[in-house]
Symmetry: C2
Subunit: 365 residues, 2 copies
C-alpha cells in the first residue's frame, strides 16, 4: 500500500495540469466511497488552486428507497462541504427498454448525458471552461479493459478509460457506451460542444481509497447494485479480477500496462494514418455528400494492418466517429483493392466504398 | 457447432501448406483427447499426402502409476495406428527444483526440449525436413493469451501461440517458456537448428474435438493434472474462461481476435523497425563484441512507442532474442537520448547502451 494518496493525487493533478485556474469542475457524486473521496480531495484542492466546484447526483430510479437515501446523503454531504449540489432524476428502466440497452449501459449513458448537459449549461452561463470529474479508479479500469476484451474490440476499446477524455456531441450516444465516447478523440467536433472528462483517481486502487476514507472518517453509501453479481461488470470486478489476482498478484497492474500499450498503439496508428491520408488522400465535396479518395497504388505498398487502420481513420474523418464499424468492414474495404475498377461496397451509416480507376473512394451520403 | 472438422482441418492443412510432400512429422502424443485426435487425423492425412509420421510420448515422472499407464496407452494406440512410437522419460520435479521453475513450466520446457532433440536427430538421420506437431486448440490458446496478459507481457506474449512457429536453439530455453520461444521469429538462427512447430488444431474448440472423438469411438486418457485447479493455467481454463463465456458467449473468440490483432501489430512493428534500422543504423564489430549504432536526430523524429520498438528490434538483432528485456529497459534507453553525450546504461545479458555524440550505441560484450 502506498502512503499519502492525497499528496500523490495532488502532485498528479499539478503535473498533468488537469484543472486550470478559474475552471469549473462538475463532480459526479453518487455518494459511494470513490466519489466521496474525490469530493473531499477537490474541496482540499481548492485551498491550493482557485476553481469552482459543483456536485451532481444522478438518481437512476432503479433502487427505490435506497436510491432516495443515496440522493439525500449526497445532498447532505455536499452541504457539509459547502459545495453547490444538483440532483437529476431519470428512469433508467424506461430508457433501457426504449433503446434496447442493458440496465448497466442505459444507466451509464443517461448519467453521462445528464452530466454533460449540466456542464454545458454551466459553461454557457459563466463562459468559463467546465470539466466533469469522475471517480473511476484502477479496479474500475481493469474491469473495463477485461469487459471490452471479451466483448470484442479493437485497440480503442481495450485501451481503457482515459484520465483525460472528451465527451463530445459529435459522438453517437446511443450506439456506443459513454466510456467509449469519452475515449474517442474528436477531430471535427465543435470545440464548444466538447466537455472534457477527468478521471483523477485512475491510478489508485479501490483498497487505497477505502483505507484513506477510514483514516479520514468520511462516511459513504454502499450501492447494493454494485454487489449484484448478475450484472456483467460487477461479476468481473467482484469475482474474476480477484481470481486473476490470485493467479498473478500483479494481474490488475499488468492489465493496465497492457491497456497503456494499446492506447499508445492506437495513438500511433492514428497519427501515422492521418499523415498518410494528408499525403495520399484527397477530399471532395459533392452535392451527394462528402468523399475522401485514397491512392490505390500507395495503399498497396502498405502493410495490411496499416491499410485497415487507414480506412478506419478515413471513416473517422468522414463521420466524426467509427461507431458500428469493425474489423469485418475494414477487411471488406480491403478486398475491393483486389477487385479493381468498379468494385463497390455499402457500409453502415450511409458510408460507401468504391473503386474508380486507381483511387479508392469512401463516401458519406 | 461446426460440421465436419476433419474436412475443415484437411482444407486448412492444404491451404496453409503446413505439411509438404516427403516431410517428417513428429507428433507429441500425450494420450489425451487432443493429441489422440491429431494422431487419427494425421494418419488419415497420409492417405492424401506422402509424409512420414512418428509419435513421441514424454513421461514427466509426476503422476506415478497414472503416468506409466498414459505411456502404455499411447504406445498401444500408436501401434494400432502403425505409427512408430518413441518414449522419453524425465523427472520434472528435479528439473523444476534445479532451475527454480514451477511444475507446469518445467514440464513444458522439458517436453519441448525432448521433442526438439528427437526431431533434430530424425532430421539429421534422414536429411529430410522435420516438424513437430502439437495438439493445442482454441481453448488452450485463450488460456495462453489470458495467462500472458495477467503476467505482464508486450505484444509478443499476448499474441498467443502460432499455428506455425519456430523452435530454435538460439532462444534461451530456461528464461522463457517454450510457448514464447516458439513464437519468436529467429533471424540469426542457423536454419539447420530450427525445427518448425505446427499447431493445426488451433482453430478448433475443445468441445468440437471431444464430439468428433465420440463419433469416431476413439479412446483417450484423461490427465488428472489437467483437472487440478491449483495449477494456474488449469484454473484459468476450467474456471475463468467458462465464467467469461457466461458474461459474453463470444469471449474466447474475441480473445483470439484480439490476439490476432496483437500478432499483426507485433509483425508490423518488427517490419517497420527493421527497415528503420537498415536505414539509420550502423553495425560495428569490435574486439569487444558487436555493436549497433542508431542516429539520435532520426530517433527523435519518431513517436515514443516506435522508438522503444526500435530498441527492442536492435537488441533482438544483437542477441537473437529479447529474453529478460522489458518495457523498463526500453524506457531506460530512451531516457539516454535526453541525457546526451556520455550517458550510459547497463542492461541485462551483457548489453550496454551509450550515447556518443549523435549516435546511440547498443553493444553486446
Amino acid at each position: 500500500m502506498r502512503k499519502g494518496i492525497d499528496t500523490e493525487l495532488f502532485l498528479q493533478v499539478k503535473k498533468q495540469q488537469w484543472i486550470g485556474e478559474g475552471e469549473q469542475i462538475l463532480l459526479a457524486l453518487s455518494g459511494g466511497a470513490d466519489s466521496m473521496y474525490l469530493l473531499y480531495f477537490l474541496k482540499e484542492l481548492q485551498n491550493h488552486l482557485s476553481f469552482s466546484l459543483r456536485a451532481m447526483h444522478v438518481q437512476h430510479g432503479i433502487r427505490g428507497d435506497e436510491a432516495v437515501e443515496d440522493a439525500t446523503f449526497s445532498r447532505q454531504q455536499a452541504e457539509l462541504y459547502q459545495v453547490p449540489f444538483l440532483e437529476y432524476t431519470c428512469s433508467v428502466p424506461d430508457y433501457a427498454e426504449e433503446n434496447k440497452l442493458g440496465i448497466e449501459e442505459a444507466a451509464r449513458t443517461l448519467r453521462y448525458k445528464a452530466l454533460k448537459e449540466e456542464a454545458l449549461r454551466w459553461q454557457e452561463e459563466s463562459g468559463r471552461k467546465t470539466k466533469i470529474a469522475l471517480a473511476h479508479h484502477m479496479d474500475d479500469q481493469a474491469e473495463t479493459i477485461l469487459f471490452h476484451l471479451i466483448r470484442g474490440a479493437g485497440f480503442s476499446g481495450i485501451s481503457g478509460m482515459k484520465a483525460e477524455g472528451i465527451f463530445s456531441e459529435v459522438q453517437d450516444k446511443l450506439n456506443k457506451d459513454a466510456t467509449d465516447i469519452a475515449m474517442n478523440k474528436t477531430k471535427e467536433g465543435n470545440q464548444e460542444d466538447c466537455i472534457p472528462l477527468l478521471r483523477p483517481l485512475l491510478f489508485l486502487r479501490k483498497e487505497e481509497i477505502l483505507k484513506r476514507l477510514e483514516e479520514l472518517e468520511i462516511p459513504y453509501r454502499e450501492d447494493s447494485t454494485n454487489r449484484d453479481k448478475s450484472y456483467a461488470r460487477n461479476y468481473l470486478r467482484l469475482e474474476i479480477l480477484p481470481a486473476l489476482e490470485k493467479i498473478n498478484a500483479g494481474a490488475v497492474k499488468h492489465l493496465l500496462e497492457a491497456a497503456e500499450l494499446f492506447s499508445e498503439t492506437e495513438a500511433y496508428f492514428q497519427e501515422k494514418t492521418a499523415e498518410w491520408i494528408e499525403r495520399y488522400g484527397e477530399w471532395e465535396q459533392s452535392s451527394r455528400g462528402k468523399c475522401i479518395s485514397l491512392s490505390i497504388p500507395q495503399l498497396k505498398k502498405e502493410n495490411a494492418l496499416f491499410r485497415r487502420e487507414i480506412y478506419k481513420e478515413a471513416i473517422f474523418l468522414l463521420r466524426g466517429n467509427t461507431t458500428e464499424f469493425g474489423k469485418l468492414h475494414y477487411h471488406g474495404i480491403d478486398r475491393l483493392l483486389k477487385r479493381g475498377n468498379g468494385g463497390r461496397l455499402s457500409l453502415p451509416k450511409g458510408v460507401k466504398a468504391e473503386v474508380e480507376q486507381k483511387r479508392l473512394l469512401l463516401e458519406k451520403f
